[in-house]
Symmetry: C2
Subunit: 146 residues, 2 copies
Amino acid sequence: MEQRLSVITLGVADLTRSRAFYEQGLGWTVGSAAEQVVFFQLNGIVLALYPREALAADAGVPSSQGSGFAGIALAHNVRRREEVDTVLATAERAGGRIAKPAQATFWGGYSGYFADPDGHLWEVAQNPFWELDAAGNVSLAPGQGA
Amino acid sequence: MEQRLSVITLGVADLTRSRAFYEQGLGWTVGSAAEQVVFFQLNGIVLALYPREALAADAGVPSSQGSGFAGIALAHNVRRREEVDTVLATAERAGGRIAKPAQATFWGGYSGYFADPDGHLWEVAQNPFWELDAAGNVSLAPGQGA
């Protein structure tokens, strides 16, 4: 199995609400959309919004609501510390919930978390040890780029 | 907020078990690791394995186990239909659970799902309408690449 990922699909309770959060709220551009799905082109991967029940059915798993933590967090890394604050403020204005205010981290960075309308967690982080190229691709170490 | 993603962190119950699944099982190479975390360099993003309880604490959310579906699915797209079967077989041999055997999809592709040792869902898909470049980056439409 090649060492890569193509799509992240977020199961959502209300597609219109979630699309508005990412599109109007965060200022992202929709790449394509159909009746039940919205796709955003990210850096080499795609973020999809899809009804939660339909996603569970598609994956062949029971679609209980679960309770609390989904066990996954996404992260959006930025180049400068102050961008962490800016992005979290944007997410909050968009109707996101600040799960953890921005703060210095034990690993030497600066980060906070917001939750989207379905509780999907996004960490917004500045990591002084990781490189971001012009396209925003992240490399664990110089020379290991995408 | 720029339209991109940097890291996906999977909360795991047993870091050694999960590392073995991705490293020995799927054949991936660890980019870096520390006592509590393992990083894999993917295409422009990073996949991290981190203890579930610690991830919940880091995000400032309660760490209940939830029940069933986490509301997120990752996808690994391949170029040829038969690769879907190959990758699913690899995942199964590695100790993954086949959540949905490979089959033709309503959207004109071919896909199946496996669950990693913590139940994190990966769809393995061949989508004839999406382009994969040499690095495996996916584009919604020609000209929209990373």
